[in-house]
Amino acid sequence: MTSVTTVSGRGLPLPGNDIDTDRIIPARFLRCVTFDGLGEQVFADDRTQLKGEHAFDQPPYQDAELLVVNRNFGCGSSREHAPQAITRWGIKALIGESFAEIFFGNCVAMGVPCVTVSADVAATLQAQIAAQPQQPLTLDLNNLTVTMGELSAPVAIDNGPRQMFVGGTWDACGQLVSQATAIQATAANLPYVNWQRRSA
């Protein structure tokens, strides 16, 4: 499987705390049986309201690959449609002050790193990208740094997910399935697995 150690590309600043997954992808776009086409709908209502002023509509950011956000990004609904919409738009990694837990877990399972930085670093990165949108950023999961021009700042991510990206095991499915014997043994030791239901 593919390891994810560095992500380099242009940045996209999206300031704001508590940006929830309903805003990232409104529920009406969840009426689907595949994730195809979600990239076009990302932040649909916010973008309509801002009439072209939304960061995802700004010409300098159209090729961006690193999204820089603030606090509690991706809170609310567990819908994986939200990170799917963001990545299908073109984003490959997220840098922010903090992420909601289910959103973060979804991103890990998709191979998309979400790393945290201090509020100051997030604000500095957002300002620097706005000033120089062509200048690339590099997120380095080996050294846990983000660099942009002269700026180099530390980033954080729990060691488990970091190992999954660096070691290429972020898609856990195969590893989980391969433990079938141990899974059956764990199940067999749980009393409730063997209880007869009332109506049986």
């Binding site: 704001g16 705390n17 508590d18 929830d20 309903d22 805003r23 409104p26 529920a27 009406r28 969840l30 009426r31 689907c32 049986v33 595949t34 994730f35 209502d45 916010d46 309509t48 606090r71 509690n72 809170c75 609310g76 609904s77 567990s78 819908r79 994986e80 903090s98 909601a100 837990e101 289910i102 877990g105 979804n106 399972a109 998709m110 060691n159 488990g160 997910p161 190992q163 999954m164 070691g167 095991t169 898609d171 856990a172 499915c173 590893q175 989980l176 399935v177 433990q179 141990a182 899974i183 764990t186 199940a187 749980l190 009393p191 409730y192 697995v193 209880w195 007869q196 239901r197 009332r198």
Partner: protein, 469 residues
């Protein structure tokens, strides 16, 4: 790191092993699936030529997209029809029990699993829905997951997870009249913030929680995720066991005593260590209403919308966004805010006791002339039970619409939506921008009895002035 809590014990019992990343491979005792977050997961299984490892520990229902007026098939919404057909096919192909519309057991996934006795103490439960935290009311460790993780659970009945910290939230004393479980959870989120729970499981404890019914405990655990906590739970006790006994999937009589003994052992030890402890007094909790665009933006019904200066610096930008979006003025009372739509339902507050409390307020009254009000029972069983008590008659006589079971206008994936910038009084769980189906629609979260009060008054009022003497 916590030790001796129910969370620690259940975690250890379900640990299959440690993955190369250092994360735990955790067995999932019950996997609940629905039409929105599962079709892509089944597609991934097909691509990888994997089977469902434990179809008998998987249960499906349809809830998010179902119309609540006419449920005739095919649905008018072609996309909704495609989704239910995909679920029907996937369940058939993988031998998964599916509680379809008209089965008598369909409903919101977090309402039906408890009412069937599927949700039990000591289980791990996962579902592709963030409100899976609801099931923690039984002393289960239950959390929401995304679609790739739904795939993982289908394929292996396990998840790759890092252990959470445990915060004990102790609430003591009697809830005053007019103050409900919904107010408790809105108050906790108001105090601890919408990201206060990130990285934590919440253990709800104290005499207030102990005195609650299972349905009230479910309301509290349901909204853990709105406080950032992926799961919340209550230690099981006699209230839990009384609720479970005799339900369809509960342990039978021959195994009942052994089951209770096992459950009792899982309760947090008296000397358990917690990563954090927070204490609240029930007497300090008012009927609570949200005024903004996050569930943490709540105030007592008699309070004013907070001014910018009164808020911590980090909360000001989102408050300014909320003033603009909600078209509400800081420093003005929330009471008196005119309401267009009243919605009673959802996995937070769509159970029988919720409908009973709302009906007490509604009985003999009339819905205000310019208000649209409707009740969506949480499940087919809730609907039947409510009708057998005559609750439907009380609501309809007052001018409410009485609908079929589903998620409905909690997230408006079905035809039930706000129009334009309508403002709703809603017993649901999220007041995010656009949440109820209109990109400029506005939501005020409150208890079902407060929603009923708003329906009668046509504006936000204090339920305590509307309770029958």
């Amino acid at each position: 790191m916590s030790t001796g809590t129910l969370f620690d014990k259940v975690w250890d019992l379900h640990t299959v092993g440690t993955l190369s990343s250092g994360q735990t491979q955790l067995f999932i005792g019950l996997h609940l699936i629905h039409e929105v977050t599962s079709p892509q997961a089944f597609a991934m299984l097909r691509e990888r030529q994997l089977q469902v490892m434990f179809p008998e520990r998987t249960l499906a229902t349809v809830d998010h997209i179902v119309p609540t007026d006419s449920q005739a098939r095919p649905f008018v919404d072609r996309l909704a029809e495609e989704m239910i057909e995909a679920l029907e096919t996937n369940c058939r192909e993988h031998n998964i029990t599916f509680y379809n519309i008209g089965s008598g057991s369909q409903g919101i996934v977090h309402v039906i699993a408890p009412e069937q006795g599927l949700t039990q103490p000591g289980m791990t439960i996962a579902c592709g829905d963030s409100h899976t935290s609801t099931h923690g009311a039984f002393g289960a460790i239950a959390f929401g997951i995304g679609t790739s993780q739904v795939r993982d659970v289908l394929a292996s009945q396990t998840l790759a997870l890092a252990k959470l910290k445990v915060r004990r939230i102790e609430i003591n004393g009697s809830l005053p009249p007019g103050v409900y479980a919904k107010d408790v959870t809105l108050h906790v989120i108001r105090q601890l913030g919408v990201k206060g729970g990130v990285g934590y499981a919440y253990e709800y404890a104290g005499t207030t929680i102990e005195a609650m019914s299972m349905e009230e405990r479910m309301t509290v655990c349901n909204m853990s995720i709105e406080g950032g906590a992926r799961c919340g739970y209550v230690n099981p006790d006699a209230v839990t066991y009384d609720y479970l006994r005799g339900r369809e999937f509960a342990p039978g009589e021959t195994q009942w005593d052994a089951a209770v003994a096992w459950w009792e052992n899982l309760r947090s030890d008296a000397d358990a260590d917690y990563d954090d402890v927070v204490v609240f007094e029930a007497a300090d909790i008012p009927p609570t209403v949200t005024w903004g665009i996050t569930p943490g933006q709540g105030i007592g019904v008699n309070e004013q919308i907070p001014t910018l200066e009164s808020l911590p610096a980090g909360d000001r930008a989102i408050a300014e966004e909320a003033y603009r979006y909600m078209e509400l003025q800081p420093g003005t009372p929330i009471q008196g805010t005119k309401i267009d739509v009243c919605f009673i339902g959802s996995c937070t507050n769509g159970r029988l006791s919720d409908l009973r409390e709302a009906a007490k307020v509604v009985q003999g009254q009339k819905v205000a002339a310019d208000v649209t009000a409707f009740v969506v029972p949480g499940s087919e069983q809730v609907k039947v039970a409510a009708e057998s008590e005559g609750l439907d008659t009380i609501f309809e006589a007052a001018g409410f619409e009485w609908r079929e079971a589903g998620c409905s206008m909690c997230l408006a994936m079905n035809p039930d939506k706000l129009q334009g910038n309508q403002i709703s009084a809603s017993s649901s769980n999220r007041n995010f921008k656009g949440r109820q189906g209109s990109s400029s629609g506005r939501t005020l979260l409150m208890s079902p009895a407060m929603v009923a009060t708003a329906a009668i008054a046509g504006r936000v009022e204090d339920v305590r002035h509307h309770l029958p003497g």
